[in-house]
């Protein structure tokens, strides 16, 4: 029983996946309309943007950093998208995507350079840039808002048209998540992020280019926030000075609930993405079950705390097990533990 539990808590994305499936099953039983095609489509659309942000944030958190400025980056990229279509109605859609991603990457690079050179925790740096970037967005947008009416039909349709029942922007998110998952699991440089998050000092001793990798994580995360900003403009009717405000906490919550250790070193992009789907679905599910708005937020909070408590308990149990095993003089080589 105990070893089963250990195994279960080792596969970090498993609890969140189980929670997700259970949630959908229970809600669907109590309210069958929850699984109508239109409801599913809405669920996916709601989760898409958070899932993309979570994929990037997971990479940053795995390397023992955090980026709190993603909501502000999304805001700037989203408003830029609206402004581009308003000023140049014939601008090619791929070019808009490139510009949005480019803006995000540049802001991410700014974060990354500050973190790497200043030696100040990313939490503090990006808390600062959260306000700086939001300030830029405010100054630029002022009271202006750009509405979906300004944007070409094909652009807005990215969030309406479906392929195999999946909205196009959701498919795009799946591609991004898959690419990130393969990179972090299957490339040497991708694996470095886990080493850095696991023990930054040891990583230096191993000759891993810690600064370059951390910078990369922030640039990629920024680029994905930029992409999310463009998609936001496609999905929602208006973009303005306050677009994306407060999103960063939803994203960090999704990543943590998805089994990424808040102090880095372990977790997966897939887990973080499932965390994003779980958090957005739970809100819809509780609404479908007519649960009071206040309790909805309390449930989300409870989820975050239980994710961290489960993580902490398994760490403590492991530490104690190790101490006792060593005292008995046995080695732990036979204990089960599946990696990747």
């Amino acid at each position: 029983m105990s070893s089963l539990w250990n195994r279960f808590s080792r596969v970090r994305e498993l609890p969140v996946a189980v929670a997700f499936v259970t949630l959908v099953a229970i809600t669907a039983t109590l309210n069958p309309r929850f699984l109508l095609p239109q409801s599913i489509k809405d669920l996916l659309l709601n989760a898409t943007i958070i899932a993309i942000l979570a994929a990037g944030q997971a990479m940053v958190i795995i390397s023992r950093n955090v980026d709190l400025s993603v909501g502000s980056i999304l805001g700037i990229a989203g408003f830029a998208t609206g402004a581009l279509f308003a000023s140049f109605p014939t601008i090619p859609i791929p070019l808009v995507f490139l510009i949005g991603i480019g803006i995000g990457a540049a802001l991410g690079a700014f974060n990354g350079l500050l973190v790497v050179t200043a030696g100040v925790p990313a939490l503090v740096i990006t808390l600062g840039t959260l306000y700086v970037f939001r300030g830029i967005n405010n100054a630029w947008a002022g009271g202006t808002e750009h509405f979906s009416g300004d944007r070409p039909k094909e652009f807005s349709n990215l969030s309406v048209d479906t392929v195999f029942g999946l909205p196009i922007i959701t498919l795009l998110a799946f591609v991004v998540i898959a690419a990130m998952a393969v990179y972090l699991a299957k490339f040497r440089s991708g694996r470095d992020f886990y080493a850095i998050g696991s023990d930054p000092e040891a990583a230096k001793l191993f000759g891993i280019p810690v600064a370059r990798r951390v910078l990369t994580a922030f640039v990629i995360n920024g680029a994905l926030a930029g992409l999310a900003g463009v998609l936001y403009a496609s999905r929602f009717s208006s973009v303005g000075a306050r677009t994306g405000t407060g999103l960063e906490l939803d994203v960090v919550a999704a990543v943590v609930v998805g089994g990424v250790a808040i102090f880095g070193g372990s977790g997966t992009v897939i887990g973080a993405a499932i965390g994003a789907f779980l958090l957005t679905t739970i809100t819809s599910a509780l609404t479908a079950l007519r649960v009071d708005k206040f309790w909805q937020q309390a449930v989300v909070g409870g989820l975050i705390i239980s994710a961290i408590v489960i993580d902490r308990i398994s760490t403590l149990r492991n530490a104690r097990r190790l101490r006792l095993e060593q005292a008995r003089g046995t080695t732990a080589v036979s204990a089960a533990g599946e990696g990747l």
């Binding site: 040497r188 694996r191 886990y194 080493a195 998050g197 190790l322 060593q326 005292a327 080589v333």
Partner: protein, 525 residues
């Protein structure tokens, strides 16, 4: 991994072992460090570092804590760069500025507590940054695992390559570090106290691995405090003392007594000796204290007017015992009694109420609040007593702080000066003042004079002696033999989490304390 072929290695080795160490320079050593000096600011960590390693030898490096072994190792590893002296690898002069440079020259260092990535698999820890690639340039888990398995087979050990490194025993972690060294074609393997945390069977496994490496021509530098092991496995022994090279002997031509003598041989008469004081009632009585895996069945007592030394090497469990007594850590079984009242574990406030003061080993991290001024630091333990209706009276606080600051002659600009700005010796006086102001019945001091200058050291010693004279019981942990021998009425010697000997003041010699500190069984005091 064998660039030199095995027969020539054996020949080289025979040649070298036929010559005395003084005339060994006919064979070019794989690694030679001469007259190496390294200082950190004012502190000279290594004054005359000297080591020569030839292919296929196991070379033991021994010395007390603080003899400079670690600094020497870190120079070999590229963690520190030597200030002066010569350093040659295979006859070519080198000056390492990074770990990578040292690795590139074929030097691998295995530390007492290896640093693996706990969240990565064993195989990945071996190959991080150079994982084998399979189709489409992606990391191939299967070939990484099979390569890891190959390395472990070569070493004759079984470790599951796909398990996480988290929770591996120290022994297994070391095996992984050795496997990594082999995969990196290491010619020189430095092992810093590799057996300190190993059980008997694990040591045997490690030694069989070491011998197979030796037969392949690898030079092994083996640092250890366990003389039975040093004599079992080494070909030559180098002794260091006080940052300097003392000498190198062929293991077959020397013995334990001779080596211990070289390690401790120094004048201890210059130190302030403890004055005799009348012994009173037993203050601290510890019975059968055990924390599984850390220390085992510890029993000792300290009486009024007595200074009891807790000697032993770093890692022998002395500090852990003190922390458990004071309640910072919990213990699994046993009893702690202070002047007749039971003290439950895990509650430092209860310990303070019963009159225990604790001056920790790491004063900067645990003894002081560096951001606060001197005065506030001294008065920290008295907050409860100084408070009236929950608010601290600053006048009173300042009064107490001034009183004790003056008594101990803390040299600070003012009581408002930041503690961080003081010298090490004065910081230690602030920590002492902090506890003395609580009028303790029992004062536990852990390495009370580490890193402070000779003058202040004597002052701290005199202060401890005065305390004992006034009836306080003092438990002193120290790694410095002269300090232990000069200050203690009785000495308990610990090794591997157990008390190995209880030696009264008049029977204590550097040799018998050191022998007990490295003994694996209980010895008569």
């Amino acid at each position: 991994m064998c660039q030199s072929n095995p027969t020539s290695v054996i020949e080289t080795f025979h040649v070298s072992s036929d010559l005395s160490t003084e005339t060994m320079n006919t064979a070019t050593p794989l690694l030679a460090l001469h007259k190496a000096r390294k200082s950190f600011g004012q502190v000279v960590a290594l004054d005359d570092g000297h080591i020569e390693l030839v292919s296929g030898e196991v070379h033991a490096l021994v010395g007390e804590n603080g003899a400079g072994k670690s600094t020497l190792v870190k120079i070999l590893a590229g963690v520190h760069t030597h200030d002066s002296g010569t350093f040659e690898v295979s006859g070519a002069a080198v000056k390492f500025r990074s770990v990578a440079e040292s690795k590139a020259r074929g030097i691998s260092v295995i530390y007492q507590e290896p640093t693996l990535f706990p969240d990565l698999t064993v195989a990945e820890n071996l190959f991080i940054g150079r994982q084998p690639k399979g189709t489409a340039g992606l990391i191939s888990q299967s070939s990484m695992r099979s390569q890891a398995r190959g390395l472990f087979e070569q070493l004759g050990v079984h470790v599951d390559p796909s398990r996480l490194a988290e929770g591996l025993s120290i022994a297994d972690q070391q095996i992984i570090e050795i496997a990594k060294a082999i995969s990196l074609d290491a010619q020189v393997l430095v092992m810093d106290e590799p057996t300190a945390a190993l059980s008997g069977s694990e040591v045997e496994r490690l030694f069989s691995v070491v011998k197979s490496l030796q037969s392949k021509g690898v030079a092994i530098l083996f640092i250890s405090h366990r003389f039975d092991e040093v004599f079992a496995i080494s070909d030559r022994i180098t002794v260091m003392r006080d940052g300097s090279y003392i000498g190198t002997w062929k293991t077959a031509e020397t013995d334990e007594q001779a080596i211990v003598k070289e390690m401790v041989g120094r004048d201890i008469s210059t130190l302030f000796p403890k004055e005799d004081a009348a012994k009173g009632d037993v203050v601290l009585d510890v019975r059968h204290l055990t924390r599984v895996g850390v220390f085992n069945d510890i029993s000792f007592h300290v009486s009024e007017g007595e200074i009891v030394g807790l000697a032993g090497l770093v890692g022998s469990g002395r500090t852990e015992v003190a922390r458990a007594v004071f309640g910072v850590d919990v213990y699994d079984s046993g009893t702690v009694t202070v002047s007749g009242s039971d003290l439950k574990g895990g509650d430092p406030m209860a310990a303070i109420r019963l009159g225990i003061g604790f001056v920790p080993e790491d004063r900067r991290k645990q003894g002081l609040v560096l951001e606060l001024p001197v005065g506030r630091n001294i008065a920290l333990t008295l907050r409860k007593f100084l408070a009236r209706v929950g608010l601290i009276s600053h006048t009173k606080e300042r009064g107490v702080a001034k009183d004790w600051g003056d008594q101990l002659q803390v040299k600070a600009g003012s009581l408002e000066a930041g503690v961080a700005t003081l010298s090490g010796g004065n910081q230690q006086k602030v920590v002492l003042a902090k506890w003395l102001s609580t009028n303790p019945k029992l004062l536990i001091v852990d390495e009370p004079t580490r890193g402070i200058d000779v003058g202040t050291k004597a002052e701290v010693h005199r202060r401890l002696s005065d305390l004992a004279k006034s009836g306080v019981a003092v438990l002193m942990i120290s790694s410095e033999l002269p300090e232990v021998m000069g200050m203690s009425d009785r000495i308990y010697v610990m090794n591997e989490g157990e008390i190995r000997a209880e030696i009264p003041r008049d029977k204590a010699t550097p040799e018998n304390v050191m022998a007990a500190a490295t003994s694996r069984v209980k010895v008569a005091g």
